[in-house]
């Protein structure tokens, strides 16, 4: 179905189900319980899951498959955001024209940067992309102020023309009248589930672009991108010019980033240059490797993981810690708070840095590899107890023969 194998179709349906059920799944704790603060089922956070998921899925097509580490993808994120806010200013608050513009512009931008950067590989490629992104960032802050509104950031003012604004058009981001920030709250017993228009809009887009990435992973094109990662020389001698393949991957991932940036502005009609800073590029790298570069689900999990803990950790401050450890004797309590507080609240960045190091050192394959290791640990145990493990039947092997490892 949809050009996918039965297994992949099932996988896609599973991911679709998870995405659509997110407002329920991420709200496991009842409102009255003290654990309610760990719920993640509110619109703003769920939107960020989906948007950064898109960003990471796109980045993974480049980094995960080809191994080319771009340190400049935040530039495309910024281009996407600016595009959407400009269509607000010139046309109306309908998000659709802006998102299309975001994808097109970031694609053109990526075509240019990619064409130049892909003349080199390895560290040089990383530094070239970094240089381009820093250039864009610096320009957005200085001479491009008429386009970006500099430090203030781009936003919509009453004096903006908004040529397509009709009489009844909403003055907040919407899709043909469907307002993004609208939510429906459904109380079920002690639980409150929030179904938000903006989240479902980003979620549907996220599912669609996930499907595209799945197709790319399973295509001959995807195979050749993997081959580039493992041995580019051989590919050359096998008759393939790697540059068009790399450029295509770069542009696709740039368009994903542009779409993500556009969606950020579709949820919140603002765009600032700090979105283009190289730390933002570093964040998407982290999401991708934390989840598992080169796997389909990994980057999405990585994005969700980081955005969730960013949100939770930043909320925890000393008062919260005092609440938690209130029952403990004072010296123990103070000790625990002293140990934990540097890592939470404003210290989230520190935790992030440590996490980054730990993942690269111990688990370069990310969460997906970790899950696989744990999985094989459980699978091996019964066979050790039950005598000789059965050899894999050839038929079974043939069926899965064309599926690259997840």
């Amino acid at each position: 179905m949809l050009g996918l194998s039965a297994k992949d179709t099932g996988f896609l349906l599973f991911v679709t189900f998870l995405t659509l059920a997110t407002p329920i799944l991420l709200q496991p704790f009842p409102e009255s319980s003290s654990l309610a603060q760990f719920n993640a089922g509110y619109p703003d956070l769920m939107q960020r899951f989906a948007i950064f998921g898109i960003f990471a899925i796109g980045f993974n097509i480049l980094f995960g498959l080809t191994g080319y580490l771009s340190f400049g993808h935040a530039a495309f994120l910024g281009v996407g955001s600016y595009s959407v806010v400009w269509t607000y200013k010139l046309l109306s608050f309908n998000v659709l024209p802006g998102l299309i513009l975001a994808i097109v512009l970031s694609g053109i931008f990526a075509l240019f940067i990619g064409f130049v950067s892909l003349r080199r590989s390895g560290i040089y490629f990383s530094i070239l992309t970094l240089a381009f992104a820093q250039m864009s960032y610096n320009l957005a802050y200085s001479v491009l102020t008429p386009l970006t509104n500099g430090e203030t950031g781009l936003q919509v003012y009453g004096s903006d023309p908004q040529y397509l604004m009709g009489e009844g058009s909403p003055d907040v981001p919407n899709l043909f009248g469907l307002v993004m920030q609208d939510s429906m709250k459904v109380p079920v017993g002690d639980w409150v589930f929030t179904f938000n228009v903006g989240y479902y809009f980003t979620a549907v887009i996220a599912i669609f672009v996930f499907y595209i990435s799945l197709r790319i992973f399973r295509s001959p094109f995807g195979l050749i991108l993997r081959a580039i990662k493992t041995n580019r020389t051989r590919l050359n001698y096998a008759g393939i010019n790697t540059r068009p393949y790399m450029l295509a991957a770069f542009v696709i991932s740039g368009m994903y980033a542009g779409l993500a940036g556009g969606l950020l502005a579709a949820m919140d009609p603002l765009a600032g240059a700090e979105r283009m800073q190289w730390t933002a590029s570093g964040e998407v790298v982290l999401m991708t490797i934390l989840g598992g570069a080169g796997t389909l689900m990994g980057p999405v999990l990585g994005a969700g993981f980081i955005k969730y803990f960013e949100n939770i950790f930043s909320k925890i401050n000393e008062t919260v810690l005092h609440d938690w450890f209130g029952a403990l004797p004072e010296p123990v309590r103070d000790f625990l708070i002293g140990i934990i507080s540097p890592f939470v609240g404003d210290g989230w960045q520190l935790t992030l840095g440590l996490l980054f190091m730990l993942v690269v050192i111990f688990l370069p394959g990310g969460i997906m590899e970790g899950a696989k290791r744990i999985g094989s640990l459980f699978r091996r145990k019964p066979s050790q107890g039950g005598g000789s493990p059965a050899p894999k039947a050839p038929v079974e092997a043939a069926e899965t023969s064309n599926q690259p490892a997840e």
Partner: protein, 343 residues
Amino acid sequence: MDAIILQILNGLDKGSAYALIALGLTLIFGTLGVVNFAHGALFMIGAFCAVTLQRILTLSFEQVDPTQKDFLGNPLKVQVPYVESWFGPDIGAFIIDWAVPLAILLAIPVMLVIGIAMERGLIKHFYKRPHAEQILVTFGLAIVLQEIVKLFFGANPIQTGAPSVFTGSFDFGALLGMPPDVIIYPYWRMVYFLFAVVVIGAVFSFLQFTTFGMVVRAGMADRETVGLLGINIDRRFTIMFGVAAVVAGTAGVMYAPILAPNYHMGMDFLVLSFVVVVVGGMGSLPGAVAAGFLLGILQSFASMNEVKSVIPGIDQVIIYLVAIIILLTRPRGLLGRRGVMEE
């Protein structure tokens, strides 16, 4: 003419900092083959060594000064730094005034320890890993280091003054027979440039004239052969990592009066220093130094109003533009050896 001299002078101190950081990056890359994204953090830690020493020196206790009264007529309580009470007010005040240069004495052992610990504890395990993973793990380390500094010193820049003798400016124009105040150059920036020249000279003579340096240079050229001679090249490389850390750290100490230390200054300098290394030629020490000064001066020319009015925004992007052009036309950089990381 005077404008040109002024811009060259203005570019020198920034260029010195680029050159010093790039020198360390190149040493590490040349010896260990590792791309160290945490090198800017070492520069930043150096700057905070200056802040720390200044704080230590100004640690004070409260004392009643019988000679002064507050506005109510009570004896005034004043803060007296311990150094002043130990060494007397004159010498004490002098020591405090000279906190930044003195901080070099603190920075050398601190940076050496940090550098060696970093190499032995972390980088060592990444020699055989792909460059992408080296970049990522050192990038993570850089975040950790700067966040720790932020934890202790806060997010705001901390003003750290140069010794008062250096606070004025030198009338450079007068030296060339120009009217006064046409080209003036702050003394401390001059000191920084001279300091950079001395450090660069010291590193080069160390590599050139000591047996230790000879082995390191041989190892940079051909690690395997030197290894086959039964020379323990790894230990020497570890020490070179420490040396690179010291160079970056002391460069940071001396830069504190020019740019008030803040926790993210390392990242800002790192990106530019990488560009410098690439322009100079990956693995080429003279290239790193030359490109550092060149780009510093170029940047200061680009920020002249005459230039900016012709090409708006050029001051913001000049360094990156140069790097992109160099990478595309001459991938081994200005002074790089043929075949080193040319891909």
